[in-house]
């Protein structure tokens, strides 16, 4: 769609596009808060890793992608899935372990997957998604359709061998993969300074000759512009990029974590001065967008989160027959041994 210059308000985006980013961040925020509530009510089991505070990264990085680009993420992936197009109802139903969940209730919070929207997985072994993303990139080189792969991981994952093996291979083989590290300063409870021998990912990218950009992960427009450059590099030159998005999670590592390892004033400072939604709303107000518009968007996000929870709660559990389904394509090969035929 052609955009006339007069429509552009900020960073090359129209009012509608800017409000779209705002609505997306709010949807993730309210969705995650609702999920947290439902977890405490016992509706959601297992592990639940919330994305609250990091919304600008997924929103800024994924919105410039094409529908046929792939996104592959970690276990803190509800936000990425929703931005890529997954239905919040189906994501919430997955958290509830219901048959209507995106992964039919068999994955849970950490294993969201939506083939239709090319959101290809939440992976819960730290760092393991990066070699997998290389494989997608390799397949895309062969297919030559110009689509690319974007993969998200945390600052803990870059200490895994998988990160280094994947970085080397992606650069060596010129794979169209955008690597995005969401550096929220803590790998679970371990502060960055206790885990990294260096203070940024720049030297690690340099070690593999990979393009590197650091960006304020609380600034959705900055993330978007940075991601766009990396996406262009992947699409046009089939070259990978490592982006380090500086961010902060406002909640614990998971719902089981009160985050006692972080000073209270540190958390409070980030929440009160660096909240990505708050910062973006200030930018929008500076452009003359009124508070009523922003508040209405928040109401819609809250309603969507409520609706998702209601949808999930009213959905059936998987049929017991699902227990042994989808182990493999070959239903007989999936069973190690069959009872004797006689």
């Amino acid at each position: 769609m052609a955009i006339s210059n007069s429509d552009v308000m900020l960073a090359g985006l129209t009012r509608e596009q800017l409000l779209g980013l705002h609505a997306t961040m709010l949807l993730i925020r309210r969705f995650e808060e609702k999920a947290g509530e439902e977890y405490t009510l016992g509706k959601i089991g297992g592990f639940l890793h919330l994305y609250v505070g990091q919304e600008a990264v997924a929103t800024g990085a994924i919105t410039p992608l094409r529908p046929d680009d792939y996104v592959i993420s970690s276990y803190r992936e509800h936000g990425h899935a929703i931005v890529k197009g997954a239905d919040p109802n189906a994501v919430m139903a997955e958290l509830f372990g219901r048959a209507t969940g995106v992964s039919k209730g068999k994955g849970g919070s950490m294993h969201i997957f939506d083939d239709k929207h090319h959101f290809h997985g939440g992976y819960a072994i730290v760092g393991a998604q990066m070699p997998i993303a290389c494989g997608y990139g390799l397949a895309q080189r062969f297919a030559g359709q110009g689509n690319i792969t974007m993969t998200f991981f945390g600052d803990g994952a870059v200490d895994e061998g998988a990160f280094h093996e994947a970085m080397n291979l992606a650069e060596l083989w010129s794979l169209p993969v955008v690597f995005i590290c969401e550096n929220n300063l803590y790998s679970m409870g371990n502060a960055l300074a206790k885990a990294w021998s260096v203070s940024s990912l720049e030297p690690r990218a340099a070690a593999y000759g990979m393009a590197y950009e650091r960006v304020d992960g609380m600034d959705v427009l900055a993330v978007r512009e940075t991601a766009q450059r990396a996406i262009d590099r992947a699409r046009r030159e089939s070259k990978p990029t490592l982006i380090e998005a500086m961010t902060y999670r406002f909640r614990g590592h998971s719902m089981a974590d009160p985050a006692a390892y972080r000073p209270k004033d540190e958390v409070e400072r980030w929440r009160s001065t660096r909240d990505p939604i708050m910062l973006f709303e200030q930018q929008l107000r500076d452009l003359g967008i009124d508070q009523a518009t922003l508040s209405a968007a928040d109401d819609r996000a809250t309603q969507a989160a409520e609706a998702a929870a209601a949808f999930a709660d009213n959905s059936p559990f998987p049929d017991l027959s699902a227990l042994t389904e989808d182990v493999m394509i070959d239903p007989t090969g999936a069973i190690a041994w069959r009872r004797p035929r006689k």
Partner: protein, 331 residues
Amino acid sequence: MRTITYREALREAMREEMLRDERVIVIGEDIDGYGGTYAVTKGLAEEFGRERVRDTPLAEEVIVGTAVGAAMAGMRPVAELMTMNFALLASDQIVNTAAKVRYMFGGQTHVPLVIRMPAGGGAQRGAQHSQTLESWFAHVPGLKVVMPATPYDAKGMLKAAIRDADPVLLIEHELLYGIKGEVPDEGVEYTVPLDRGEIKREGRDVSLITFSRGVHLSLQAAEELAKEGIEAEVVDMRSIRPVDLDLALDSVKKTNRAVVVEEGWKYFGTGQGFAALIYEYGFDDLDAPIGHVTGVDVPAPYAKNLEKAAFPVRNDIIDAVKRIVPQRAVR
């Protein structure tokens, strides 16, 4: 039929499948310039180009992880691991990714992947290069694990594995690459199913339940036993997971006695798994406890004499058979 080596049979399988399906690619360490550590991939890069036949860095996790991802994204990758001992470096991608994604993502994806690797000892390669660890992987739902013993089976099973829609570990044996056997001419189409074993020698007195190099040892033992009037049936299980249990049970129903023969360690090993299933489903057919010939329960030693003592030989099988086949059964 012509006679070719196990190594050539594997190479032909890859070549034919690469000709048949352009989605088939081969990746691994030293498969191009070096021709493959055991020369299995020799000539493939020249014929199919270095886009489809790719040398990788020495990085097993990313080799397998990339192959898994490429498979999920529509390719048909064959990943070669230099030895099964190095599969441990890739075991996260094998066990946590390849075996799990279809199930945990609700059937929305699948992994048409083959991982080839040699296992086994007996060539003085020492403790870290002589292991047979198929039971570690055969334990895991979501994987297929096969171990062909002959050139015919190696070619037919590799072709079937490449066409299979699910992840297959094809485990070769370092000492089998040079053996020869009858294989149909190149281009004559055949595959060997991934869930069926085969009787490699018929017999009425005892079933030798085995796979991989154990098949050859068992055939040698059976020859010797025949001279003493004991007819051993050699049951090549071939598919470790899923297992062809009916084949083993039918054989035991006939012979009423079984010896499980394998090169790996006994405890929690493949043979113990086979024996447990035979006890569970074929108990009434057994006239004696199941014998078990395995590697000695130690890391593989280097010294020639020690290594020879560490792995099963023909006579170990003969002794095990004689322990459970009473004289009266010898006709």
